[in-house]
């Protein structure tokens, strides 16, 4: 059974990253995550097995994000906000049981996958994600057209996606082998 502090240390950042998928304001995102921890503290759920706690934390964060978007829609009632509608579609996508990499993988595994990308992709991913440069700034720095940066960003992300899914595939194979062994006994 994990204690509350180590649970907080382990999941706070991941929950925050997940929240930031949908919530632009960082202070709102921090509040959302704090409230989730207040809930597990008060209802004592943090005393359960870690798998259960993790599932609970992520389902709580999914609900909170969706509620946040719905609330934002009410606030901006008279504006037709397409960006928000796209976010809502995305939130519903995860609500239906789809899991984000943030939930499935550790942040370190994701960083490791970036490191193993081919140079031309790693470069643009690194400049945008680590150094926070926008596409046109990257284009200037590397002296290439913005279109090329955009293409590399998309393809780089796609290559990363492949890498991450390959890994889970290996784990699945391994699990099947295990069950085969069990059957033979």
């Amino acid at each position: 059974m994990p204690d509350f502090d180590s649970l907080f240390r382990k999941y706070q950042q991941r929950l925050l990253l997940y929240t930031l998928k949908f919530v632009e304001s960082e202070s709102d995102a921090l509040d959302i995550v704090q409230n989730i921890f207040v809930a597990v503290w008060e209802n004592g759920k943090y005393r359960q097995e870690e798998d259960l706690v993790q599932a609970y934390l992520f389902s709580a964060v999914k609900n909170s994000c969706l509620n946040y978007i719905k609330h934002q829609k009410v606030v901006r009632k008279f504006e037709h906000d397409v960006a928000l509608e796209i976010k809502e579609m995305e939130a519903l996508h995860y609500q239906s049981g789809e899991k984000s990499l943030i939930e499935k993988e550790s942040l370190k595994q994701i960083n490791d996958a970036i490191d193993s990308l081919p140079d031309i992709y790693r470069e643009v991913i690194f400049l945008s994600r680590f150094d926070g440069l926008k596409n046109h700034e990257i284009a200037e720095r590397l002296n290439i057209p913005v279109r090329t940066v955009e293409t590399r960003i998309f393809r780089g992300l796609n290559a990363l996606k492949e890498k991450m899914s390959q890994k889970s595939f290996v784990i699945l194979l391994f699990m099947r082998d295990l069950s085969v062994n069990v059957n033979f006994k």
Partner: protein, 329 residues
């Protein structure tokens, strides 16, 4: 609009460009065309969102969590025994610029409160006696749970700047692996990173007494002086110091005057939480003078190095760079 390459670029613009509202509409229409389109977009955006570099704030947030819980408990006038240690810690911490999280360690001798600051960040704490402590990146300050205005002893690894509340009857003592510093009310800096060759203390104001660990050697240090101890040979130098550059870090500034290259590298590594590797001996001979604020990114700093000295750099992995000596032709 059905062009695949066009959509790919549109997604990249949505994620990291200046995407005009008309393009949001275009993207939305494309998404609504099929579940397959949704899947492509959401999975790519998911990779994008999970690879964001975000400074870990979990320690600050955990402190905030307990603080809020404590306030709540106080309001409801319930006695929360569980919070008692937390309460004590929060009172000691007081109002912080960035809050630090003390965690408690139980040893045979009693409880110890520890503040630690991860690499790449700095923090400030106010102790129960009113003393203000600025902790530099990768440092740890600890003290026993009976620390009070009459029992003022703290332990330090790493670097800290102390602004000690004046009390001539109860000295404030900083213990480090190399020496102990005893003061009554002053401002001074102590630097004892275990990976450094030297440990030092620099005095800005007042008076301090210093005793080298495991010996009876005592020194009195005057304002503007710096005491530096070679950790290996145990030789020391007591001389005048450049106070401004020694303590600029506490205000988020990085000033260095004539420091050798290896020292600069160590400072940058701690400051930015990156690794800078170099193998060329030629680099060792350089010394550097410079000044910049914390706002500069590691890229800007490395570019500045590249412009002003025969050094080039390459990114090797996510938070790692290689520095290369490039002699002028």
């Amino acid at each position: 609009m059905e062009d695949k390459a066009y959509i790919e670029d549109l997604i990249a613009r949505y994620l990291n460009g200046n995407c005009p509202p008309t393009e949001y509409q275009e993207l939305k229409l494309w998404l609504e065309e099929s579940a397959e389109h949704e899947k492509v977009f959401f999975s790519v955006k998911d990779i994008w969102d999970s690879s964001r570099t975000y400074h870990d704030k979990s320690e600050d947030q955990l402190t905030l969590f307990y603080k809020n819980q404590f306030e709540k408990a106080k309001k409801s006038k319930q006695l929360w025994i569980r919070y008692s240690t937390v309460a004590a810690a929060i009172l000691a911490v007081g109002l912080l610029i960035t809050t630090l999280l003390p965690y408690t360690k139980t040893a045979n001798t009693g409880q110890e409160l520890v503040f630690s600051v991860p690499l790449g960040s700095r923090s400030t704490a106010t102790l129960a006696d009113g003393t203000e402590v600025h902790l530099n990146s990768g440092s740890k300050l600890s003290y026993s749970s009976d620390f009070s205005s009459i029992n003022r002893v703290v332990y330090l690894t790493g670097e800290a700047f102390f602004d000690v509340e004046s009390d001539s009857e109860h000295p404030f003592i900083v213990k480090t692996a190399d020496f102990n510093v005893k003061v009554t009310g002053t401002q001074f800096n102590v630097c004892t990173y275990t990976e450094n060759n030297y440990s030092s203390t620099t005095l800005a104001e007042g008076k301090i007494e210093l005793q080298i660990g495991g010996s009876n050697q005592n020194f009195e240090i005057k304002p503007g002086e710096k005491f530096e101890l070679d950790r290996q040979t145990r030789k020391y130098i007591l001389g005048s110091a450049d106070i401004e550059s020694e303590i600029a870090w506490k205000d988020g500034e990085f000033i260095f005057r004539n420091i050798p290259f290896p020292e600069l590298v160590k400072k940058l590594e701690r400051w930015y939480d990156v690794r800078l590797n170099y193998s060329d001996e030629g680099l060792q001979r350089f010394s550097y003078t410079g000044r910049f604020k914390n706002q500069e990114t590691i890229w800007q700093v490395l570019d500045a190095l590249k412009l002003t000295s025969p050094i080039d750099y390459q990114k090797t992995t996510f938070r790692e760079f290689k520095l290369i000596y490039k002699p002028l032709k």
